[in-house]
Amino acid sequence: MNTETSVAVPIGRRRKQEFVVRDFFELGLEESASPFLTPLARRISRNLPLKVSIGAALLLLLAYITSFQPHLYPLAAIMLAAVYIMVGVPALINSVEDILLRRDCNIDVLMTLAAFSAIFIGSGFEGALLLVLFALSGAIEDTVSLKAKNALIQLHRLVPLKAYVIEEGELKERAVQDVALGTLVLVRAGEIVPLDGIVVEGASSVNMVHLTGEATPIRRIKGDEVPSGARVIEGSLTVRVTHLSHDSTVSRIVQLITQAQSQKPLLERWFDRFSRQYALTIITISCVVALGLPFFLDLSYLGREGSVYRSLAFLITASPCALILAVPIAYLSALGASARKGIVLKGGVVFDALNRCSIVAFDKTGTLTLGELSLDEVVSNEILSYAASLERNAVHPIAKAIVKKCQAEEIPFCEVQEVEVIPGYGVQGKIGNEMAFIGDLSHALTLLPKEQARFFEEEAKQSQSQGKIIAALVIANRGYLFAFSDKARPGVTRMLLSLKKLGRRFLMLTGDHYESAKPLAKQVGIDDFEADLKPEDKLKRISALSEKEGLAMVGDGINDAPALARATVGICMGQVGSATARGAADVILLHDNIELLDWLFAKAAKTKKIVVQNLCIAIVAIVAGSIPALYGVLPLWLAVIVHEGGTVLVGLNALRLLKD
């Protein structure tokens, strides 16, 4: 359904750039994703500001070295002019736009003013240095945020764009936004349900792992609701649309994530407001110093001792680049490093909150466990062979678990004839002379003699009460039960041990039975666990603990959503997690990589440390530079070094967070 056909572009090329148009708009008309450009040109555009900044830095260095040779000075001047063109013009454009279009006088304006003013007092190199460093820090920031954006774009691709609607008995392809309420939509095996609706015809198992976190497919028959984003496994469903595209389940997930992306930490928001006031104050003081100082002191306007020179040195050193950069670049680097690991945080403020958490609470199914079924015990090799032979070509997780077990035990398959899939129920076929069925218990019971069916049902209920998932095989009027259970995710035990070392306590909160919770808790090393909890019980427990001390809750299902929202930090599994849970959570583990939780907590601690270090560096650089500048004891070149040194240090310090 997602395979698109070309209209005007050859198929081969069209497939290569299937998502180019969508990516281009989702990245905010980013040139490096422009559909108009050739692939080579798109590669050239990637991180272009960073490449240009590095080029300008090298050119400036060359110009500086060349300037020591008097006969080569004209060449140095040409190179210097090129540096101003490369990094100065973009800064100038931004500043003029800020002042004229946005009526904003901010830190960028302050820096550009200082850099260009430097030319008029014969300090072109210092001005160029300022511009180069400013461009470098801006380009690094852009690169980091683009990477974070790219990680989220993958989530947007969950949204189906087209639906096959049934109109006057004919099947027609329609864009999802053109599909009206009440329209009948056909969804075939392997396709994704494009819009929320109610099944009016057909039956099938549907996989809703992206929506509910439940890895085991659920049977959907006439009258059942199906959400958009669910994948139809076998057969086909005719669905009557109940929600429009902008209101569908998948669209809501995407909207929630997009909204969350724009969240800023409190400290960062405060700095944005502070930046404007500060820039205006510094520009005013600089003007007063430049124009007024000769009236009070025995000073000229021009020259190295002059008031203009001092005011420029003050303007440069007092610019709070390092201070402004100190917090966001640290958060951005940490967010970028996390995104690279497949962890999306809804803003830098989450790192602060993670540092406040002393307890980590876990849900069980789908969170600590894989959500993948494994067959626990087998009646006999012969029965397993029958079951596996029937399920050999099915895609249901139960079928996969049976076939996997059969292959692991090296049991040969037997011949099955007249194989038929009963959508939503299971598979039937002829083994030898006997008809056999494997699949749903309720259907199996109808195939058994009454007395045996009663006994069989009781046996099944007993297994189910232990938290096991059941499938039934019926052959020659006899029923056989297959019990499946979920396994712990790999790396969970190590992660919990590592979290303990970081000073965190943990507990498991589950709605499952005590009998099924206990073995898992023991296996992964959790002493403290509570089972048989309803969503409201979980919420009560989480609320109490969150009020007392910080708590991070890790979950996946809709039933975890209230607890995730109430916890100090809600962490949700990205792949198996439900849409509601993802909306409520602060952190999304895109690849269900729960084994990286200890890494995330360690990264949060390191981020806090680096933010504090950065603030100290920035304040020292401003105070140490601006006061001597006013007294005229700081030459312009040194003012630039002090100021930019602080900015570069802050940037480099923050970039340490990008490391794994």
């Binding site: 698109e4 070309s6 005007a8 008309l29 053109d178």
Partner: protein
């Protein structure tokens, strides 16, 4: 069944062929021809014209050969930077315009679907589609936002996707064009004679016009002769204007 449709539906095939036709015809009727090679040949031609004009005018002053060489060299250096920047800027500006139009078109497709559908219908009706076939084509195109956008851009607006070179690459083309033309002309002037300079200029004109004409599938001989004639006319006008002013 022949391989005429290349594995596609007949409707898709027709749409593809018609789209290519519209794109091709829009090129002939004055669409911009951006690209490294065009920027190079165009810059080479303009540089040759500018240097020849300068050379003609400088003959009225009593420059020593070395002085004239320095003047032409310095002019070429500045001119190369101008052409690089100008070509890059024109390409950037063109790309910005394309992006804006694309964004507007996407907005139309997303929010004014009924009108866009009508536009598509009109477009395909003009191509001979009618009745149910017309409805089917439009429905298929409108079912996918990306596809509808591509068709509108390529068919309605005559744009070409995946074809534009990077603005900096176009700028580089122009820069190399200036360097090549001025380098050859100055070399000819410095090592041979004024006649060599004129011969080199004629050759540069001829080559650059030939390459451009070939690339645009135009006739090469009229292109070469016309361009040479215009350059000669410009030189004659400059020469006699100067002569007239000097005599007054």
């Amino acid at each position: 069944m022949s391989d005429h449709f290349k594995g596609k539906e007949a409707i898709q095939h027709i749409v593809e062929v018609q789209a290519n036709g519209v794109v091709s015809s829009s090129e002939i009727h004055g669409a911009e021809t951006p690209g490294f090679l065009f920027a190079l040949t165009d810059a080479a031609r303009e540089t040759t014209a500018a240097l020849v004009l300068l050379f003609v005018l400088c003959n009225f002053f009593e420059f020593l050969p070395d002085q004239l060489f320095m003047l032409l060299f310095s002019f070429s250096a500045g001119w190369a930077c101008w052409k690089f920047g100008r070509a890059s800027w024109l390409a950037t500006s063109r790309l910005e315009r394309l992006h804006r139009v694309m964004d507007e078109e996407r907005h139309e497709i997303e929010y004014n679907r009924a009108q866009e559908k009508e536009e598509l219908k009109a477009l395909y009706r003009a191509k001979g589609f009618q009745g149910k076939l017309l409805d089917d084509v439009v429905d298929v195109l409108m079912a996918d936002g990306d596809r509808a956008l591509r068709v509108m851009l390529e068919e309605e607006l005559g744009f070409r996707l995946d074809e534009n070179e990077h603005p900096l690459l176009q700028g580089l083309g122009a820069f190399l064009g200036v360097v090549a033309a001025s380098g050859l002309l100055l070399l000819a002037y410095n090592t041979a004679s004024q006649v060599a300079l004129v011969v080199t200029a004629v050759c540069l004109f001829a080559i650059s016009c030939y390459v451009t004409a070939k690339r645009e599938h135009n006739k090469s001989i009229p292109a070469i002769v016309w361009n040479l004639a215009i350059a000669l006319f410009a030189s004659v006008v400059a020469y006699f204007c100067m002569k007239f002013i000097a005599s007054e």
